[in-house]
């Protein structure tokens, strides 16, 4: 498998300040959740995403990347810096989540502009929002297991959208309403007709239980 070098120059000062100023002071109940968002598995999966996206874009430099929509963005604290630091040409990132507290922490952490890229924070319940009038170049969802199959979501320019989707086979978690057994199932339930990449990672989750995370990158056009 070809390798690309991923920059992950995390500003630890910013992290410490945010932890103190925002999370501990305003959202003490979110401390554990916020720290979990920096867990080894979270960082590994986001780096994997950016690494494979870079390889897809290397082979297809014509794919537009200006506008990225992240569904179920949570805090956006790992993925946004990874995207911005490694992919040149991004202009706007829309972070969408139903958790307004996570969005507020994310906004106070990353701001409305991060290294020249506009960041927009939208509180929306993805399962009950119609995206068919909206445009995006890339749609990322790293928590498909929490939502209805991605086939239920489409954009105005859907055939041109590059979808980057992750899910897992960790059934039994109450919030996991839509796990998949493999990446073939993820491709199928997302209506992707042209997969550019698909793969899996073996990880250890809660109680050191092994589970698999799947990722597909592709489009819906024929």
């Amino acid at each position: 498998m070809p390798k690309v070098e991923i920059k992950f120059n995390y500003d630890l000062g910013l992290f410490g300040d945010t932890l103190n100023r925002i999370v501990l002071r305003e959202y003490p109940n979110r401390l554990k959740d916020f720290i979990n968002s920096f867990s080894g598995n979270q960082v590994t999966c986001k780096k994997w995403l950016v690494e494979q996206l870079l390889l897809v874009l290397k082979d297809r430099p014509e794919l537009p990347i200006k506008k990225i929509t992240i569904l179920g963005s949570w805090y956006g604290n790992v993925l946004v810096p990874l995207l911005v630091d490694n992919i040149k040409g991004i202009e706007d990132i829309h972070l969408i989540d139903m958790d307004e507290d996570a969005l507020d922490i994310g906004r106070k952490f990353l701001g409305r502009e991060y290294k020249g890229v506009n960041l927009n924070y939208l509180k929306e319940d993805i399962n009950f929002t119609d995206y068919s009038e909206r445009y995006t170049n890339i749609c990322i969802n790293t928590s498909c297991e929490h939502m209805l199959p991605m086939s239920s979501i489409s954009f105005n320019n859907d055939k041109q959208v590059l979808y980057i989707l992750q899910s897992n086979n960790m059934k039994g978690e109450r919030e996991h309403v839509n796990c998949v057994e493999d990446y073939h199932e993820l491709i199928k339930q997302s209506s992707l007709k042209k997969p550019y990449y698909y793969g899996r990672l073996k990880l250890n989750g809660k109680d050191n239980r092994e589970y698999k995370r799947f990722m597909v990158i592709g489009k819906r056009d024929d």
């Binding site: 989540d97 139903m98 507290d101 996570a102 399962n127 109450r174 919030e175």
Partner: protein, 199 residues
């Protein structure tokens, strides 16, 4: 006011059902000695209860009771309260005061938290057809996303309900607000409370 319940599967016995002072039972079978009406079994789990909002049933005002409740007070007090406080088009149901609501409110990233319980609810069948229409429209989607109807109400439709006074409906085991259980009219034995309503 019609007092009704729903009975299906084998979790409860007919003897348990017959302890309730019901006028009608919606069921998957005919039950001797009970006025039985057919229950739409095409809905999963407790979603079947939502079919009782279908206005074609022409039920008027109803008090629904789950089978796993203990009636220890006068149901007429509940009925009087409903008659005096009912809001057009809304369901009156139980408030889950037996768990910490503040914790629930802070859990915003999932559909797991819930302070609504439909073990005992009152409604006017002619006025609540919008609930039936909504569940009919998104039947599959809703049963995938929500562990039950209470969570659907809590997360997506707070405008659809009002609550009984907390002291009237209490839980058999849990009592976060420390109410006097002897004052309860109904004690809920909701077996799912431990796992499903807690954060």
């Amino acid at each position: 006011m019609n007092i009704i319940t729903a009975f299906w599967g084998d979790k409860y016995s007919v003897d348990e059902l017959k302890k309730l002072p019901i006028d009608y039972c919606f069921s998957d079978r005919e039950i001797p000695g009970v006025k039985t009406l057919p229950l739409d079994m095409s809905y999963k789990h407790t979603w079947k209860k939502m079919t009782l909002f279908d206005k074609r049933l022409k039920l008027g005002d109803c008090l629904f009771l789950d089978i796993d409740i203990i009636i220890q007070g006068d149901l007429n007090i509940l009925i009087d309260y409903y008659n005096k406080n009912r809001v057009k088009g809304k369901v009156m149901l139980s408030h889950v005061h037996w768990f910490d609501n503040e914790k629930m409110k802070k859990n915003k990233g999932t559909y797991i938290s819930c302070n609504v319980n439909s073990g005992v609810f009152a409604f006017n069948n002619d006025e609540c057809d919008h609930i039936y229409q909504a569940v009919k429209k998104d039947k599959e989607k809703l049963s995938i996303l929500f562990e039950g109807t209470d969570k659907w109400f809590y997360h997506k439709h707070p405008e659809w309900y009002t609550f009984w006074p907390d002291k009237y409906i209490q839980h058999n085991v849990h009592n976060f607000e420390k109410y006097d259980k002897s004052k309860a009219i109904i004690i809920s034995e909701n077996g799912n409370a431990e796992g499903r309503n807690k954060i």
